[in-house]
């Protein structure tokens, strides 16, 4: 703790093989501390496996993972992270107060006032049993347990997936406020791309167990262009486009093509260009798992690291 590493997560060659094959393969990147990072990918892309390795619930087959410079094989990382699993497991027979006591008893850095405040601001009665709470209230208690731990890194596995829009909005607000107040690094997996765009300033995209994209959104998203023009050539996409730029995804509608590209230079005037939204870029990558990935320099293990430190 005396040596605050600037990297919340450093993964090197991380892989996990199950009986059915590799769930996560050759995953190398780093996440600077202080970001709200989205972990995006289709089902089975390895998101939960990655979160499992970061929370010591899954033992990686290959590679290493460090959180704030501490290898995950060291139980000491448990004090610095909090994890909210997708189904938000809590003891259904415990009352809310007992659930908070669980956090207090098992965590040396526990902040009871903070946890109580989160519970109270949702008007969740302390004497209610967890099993009687609504989904939103239950998630709120799980949040209280996670934030009360005072984690430096908060890992969330689809935290909002089972909530109604109102509760989702309320808890997203809570998450952003608490993370901002305590400078917590957040890594959350989600399918809600439009929500991620609002909340997150860092991106990790996984597909088929491999890392496809990593970096700050403000660096990654502007590196792409949506191009539309007159279709030509065999598959409709002009040869020139393929030669000079990296085509992530291309579609033909009628006599028009539209493509998501990473421009390798200036785009000719004949084509119409648009800056894509984060959702459009992500969808493009998710639809084309074979397209070349994009790892920002900052997210590379051999990137300009020591300068930041």
């Amino acid at each position: 703790m005396s040596d605050p590493s600037p990297w919340a997560i450093e993964a090197e060659g991380l892989g996990k093989k199950y009986r059915g094959g590799w769930a996560l393969r050759d995953c190398s990147f780093r996440l600077p501390a202080g970001h709200i990072c989205a972990l995006v990918g289709p089902n089975g892309a390895g998101k939960s496996t990655f979160l499992g390795t970061a929370t010591r619930l899954v033992q990686p087959t290959t590679g290493t993972l460090k959180l704030f410079g501490v290898p995950v094989s060291d139980p000491a990382v448990l004090e610095r992270i909090a994890f909210l699993a997708q189904d938000k497991p809590l003891y259904p027979r415990f009352t809310v107060a007992e659930t908070l006591r669980l956090g207090r008893e098992l965590n040396p850095r526990w902040d009871q006032a903070l946890a109580e405040r989160i519970v109270r601001s949702g008007n969740v009665p302390f004497t209610a049993r967890i099993g009687t709470l609504s989904g939103g209230q239950r998630t709120r208690v799980a949040f209280a347990l996670a934030f009360g731990k005072r984690p430096e890194l908060l890992l969330l596995d689809e935290p909002m997936s089972d909530l109604d829009p109102l509760a989702r909005h309320e808890l997203s607000g809570l998450l952003m406020a608490e993370a901002a107040e305590h400078g917590t690094t957040v890594l959350m997996s989600s399918h809600m791309l439009s929500e991620m765009e609002v909340m997150c300033d860092y991106l990790l995209v996984l597909a088929e167990g491999r890392l496809r994209m990593a970096g700050q959104t403000e660096e990654l998203i502007p590196a792409h262009l949506l191009v539309t023009g007159v279709a030509e050539g065999d598959d409709g996409v002009p040869e020139e486009l393929r030669r000079r730029h990296t085509v992530i995804e291309a579609r033909i509608t009628g006599r028009q093509f539209s493509a998501l590209i990473r421009p390798g230079g200036p785009v000719p005037d004949g084509w119409e260009t648009l800056a894509p939204s984060m959702e459009e870029v992500l969808l493009g990558y998710l639809r084309s798992p074979d397209a070349p990935g994009l790892i920002a320099d900052e997210a590379r293990l051999d990137g300009p690291g020591k300068a930041a430190a």
């Binding site: 929370t55 619930l57 004497t127």
Partner: protein, 339 residues
């Protein structure tokens, strides 16, 4: 406590942040950290167990006073003549029957209701993930999760067994007509209840860990308890001690067994000690048949009361060795494999 949820928001909104009228009351408790959590999770079963132990010990201790009086006035047996056996059975037969029932069923109940759901329920509800990401290592969690319930179970069964043994010992020649081996007394006294509790609870834990569902694990543990108890009484128990034999003339009086001995088997034998089944030469010309084989004696095999403690410790040792084996597998698996 009686506030309804509709009143909750208003009360919470008006309450100043620090005073927390509905906040969790910081009660002073004995247990902290992981032991508190384990106690809280299993408090119903553990409280019932502690209560049963207290009531059982008190009842046994209370009955012992009357029993001592009875033995003083009527004699401690063995009940070979007169009405001593009937009188004792009328007065204390029920007590010892229910006592042995409690002592023999308690390990099974603990295996089913404490052992089987211990880890299986955590896996079923996903709370393994919750605890696995608090600031406690897997090793400490396993130690507390296994250690506290097993320690309470051992303490309770050891106490009950000690008091029940203390109650039974002076009346041992009268209880169940002096049969301490097959009547349930053997499994209800000395180290055996503790060993059975440990064995069945640990088997329940292991089974639950493999099945990962509480209810099937409980059913499986119950079946396992039945199977092992049949194997125990049919195959293992009689072999724990070596049989002793006493021979007496074929037509004479006997056998003259020491008090407290349990008669196991009867034979007929030649003068040289060669044994034949008890039914040999009982039909046809019995005299000629016996003369031909040279049968002159009857032999009774028995186990002596003096062997009981040794047999119990040997049996308990076997169960404890198996327990350690299964427990090692549980700890190893919990450490190495994600639950």
């Amino acid at each position: 406590m009686t506030r309804t949820s509709s009143a909750g928001p208003r009360a919470a909104a008006t309450a100043p942040a620090g005073s927390a009228p509905d906040g969790p009351t910081a009660r002073r408790t004995l247990l902290h950290g992981l032991p508190w959590l384990v106690w809280r999770r299993h408090r119903t079963v553990l409280r019932i167990l502690l209560l049963t132990t207290a009531v059982g010990c008190a009842a046994f201790a209370y009955e012992r006073a009357g029993l001592t009086d009875f033995l003083h006035t009527h004699g401690a047996g063995p009940a070979v003549h007169g009405t001593l056996g009937t009188d004792f059975s009328n007065a204390y037969g029920g007590l010892f029957r229910s006592g042995t029932q409690l002592m023999t069923s308690l390990p099974v109940l603990l295996g089913v209701f404490l052992g089987a759901p211990l880890i299986a329920a955590e896996q079923e509800h996903g709370t393994v993930k919750l605890i696995g990401t608090q600031s406690v290592s897997r090793g400490r969690w396993i130690a507390a999760t296994l250690g506290l319930p097993l320690a309470v179970a051992v303490l309770c069964t050891a106490l009950l067994s000690a008091v029940f043994t203390w109650l039974w010992t002076p009346a041992r020649l009268l209880v169940m007509d002096g049969d301490w081996l097959t009547s349930g007394i053997f499994e209800s006294t000395g180290p055996i209840p503790v060993a059975r509790t440990l064995f069945l609870t640990v088997c329940g834990i292991a089974l639950g860990m493999l099945v990962k569902r509480a209810v099937p694990a409980m059913a499986g543990t119950f079946v396992l308890a039945l199977v092992t108890s049949v194997l125990w009484s049919e195959q293992l128990r009689d072999r724990l001690g070596s049989l002793r034999g006493v021979s007496y003339p074929y037509d004479g009086n006997g056998p003259d067994l020491p008090p407290g001995a349990v008669r196991m088997d009867d034979w007929v034998s030649t003068a040289g000690g060669r044994l034949y089944g008890y039914g040999t030469c009982t039909t046809g010309d019995t005299g000629a048949c016996r003369a031909k084989l040279g049968i002159v004696n009857r032999v009774t095999q028995y186990v002596d009361y003096g062997q009981m403690a040794g047999m119990q410790w040997l049996g308990a040792g076997i169960l404890l060795a198996l327990t350690v084996l299964v427990l090692a597998c549980v700890v190893w698996r919990a450490h190495r494999r994600p639950l």
